[in-house]
């Protein structure tokens, strides 16, 4: 019961703040609502028993990436952009096409409906309980045993991104 309350609370919070992110005029308000959406996603990770990702989501997204976003919003001129038209000319066609995409995926979900006992509406089996319990420990072991090479490649990617960002934002190259 508590599980359901937590899930639907965070799901509703995530969807509402996501809608506000794309509709607000002021970029700072969008950033604040994006922080709410990311925190709600972190809550859903916690509800899914992914404690390590919950912490990573808060520290990295909310503490790192969003601070960067707000820095850049403050650096670029806010007042000029505030009085301009916020949506481009093809906004109606684009929204309709995005909704058509959502309807297609929804239809795929609908077509996958099966009524087997013990399965949910999409015919997916129920979750295996208790297999991910020492979560951080399991993530660490898998990351450093099975995914060692991708981990190192990710570190090189971060190094390249760091150098690229510094070079890009420098005044004179």
């Amino acid at each position: 019961m508590l599980d359901k309350v937590v899930f639907y609370f965070f799901a509703g919070l995530a969807v509402i703040s996501a809608i506000l992110v794309v509709t607000r005029r002021n970029a700072v308000h969008s950033a604040i609502f994006l922080i709410t959406a990311l925190l709600a996603t972190a809550g859903i990770f916690l509800q899914l028993r992914a404690e390590f990702l919950f912490i990573v989501q808060i520290i990295l997204y909310v503490g790192g990436i969003m601070v960067l976003f707000i820095f850049v919003i403050m650096l670029v001129n806010l007042d000029v952009a505030l009085h301009q038209v916020q949506f481009n000319r093809q906004w109606f066609v684009a929204s309709v096409l995005a909704l058509v995409l959502a309807a297609q995926v929804f239809f795929i979900f609908y077509a996958a409906q099966r009524s087997e006992p013990g399965r949910d509406t999409l015919g997916l089996p129920p979750a295996v309980a208790g297999r991910l319990t020492p979560n951080t420990e399991l993530v660490g072991q898998t990351l450093f045993r099975n995914y060692m090479v991708p981990f190192e490649i990710a570190s090189i990617l971060l190094l390249v991104a760091m150098i690229g960002a510094v070079v890009m934002a420098k005044r004179r190259v």
Binding site: L53, L68, F87, A94, L122
Partner: protein, 100 residues
């Protein structure tokens, strides 16, 4: 216990909102924020399937996606700063130097 399909529907909703944001907004910073929303929707799917299968691999993929999001945000915001210094605008449809 919440069935896995509910996580898929939540992820679909967040993904669609992100796509609408990318396609309709003019402010490049808000377009980048919408991309972050899309990446989050994918992460919810990965973690939900990770719990459904009882395997931790989906969470590892989510960690890699968060890494990519950090790299993308750093480089993208660097590009925005460099562009703003040259053209004094953050609107996507005024970025037309390459148009001939």
């Amino acid at each position: 216990m919440i069935p896995t399909s509910h996580y898929l529907f939540l992820s679909l909703a967040l993904f669609t909102i992100g796509v609408v944001g990318v396609l309709t907004r003019r402010n490049v910073i808000i377009i980048l924020m919408s991309i972050e929303l899309i990446l989050n929707a994918v992460n919810i799917n990965l973690v939900a399937f990770s719990r459904m299968l009882g395997s931790v691999d989906g969470q590892i993929f989510a960690i890699f996606i968060i890494t990519d999001a950090a790299a993308e945000a750093a480089v993208g915001l660097g590009i925005i700063i460099a562009f703003f210094r040259n053209r004094e605008t953050v609107l996507a449809d005024e970025m037309d130097i390459l148009k001939w």
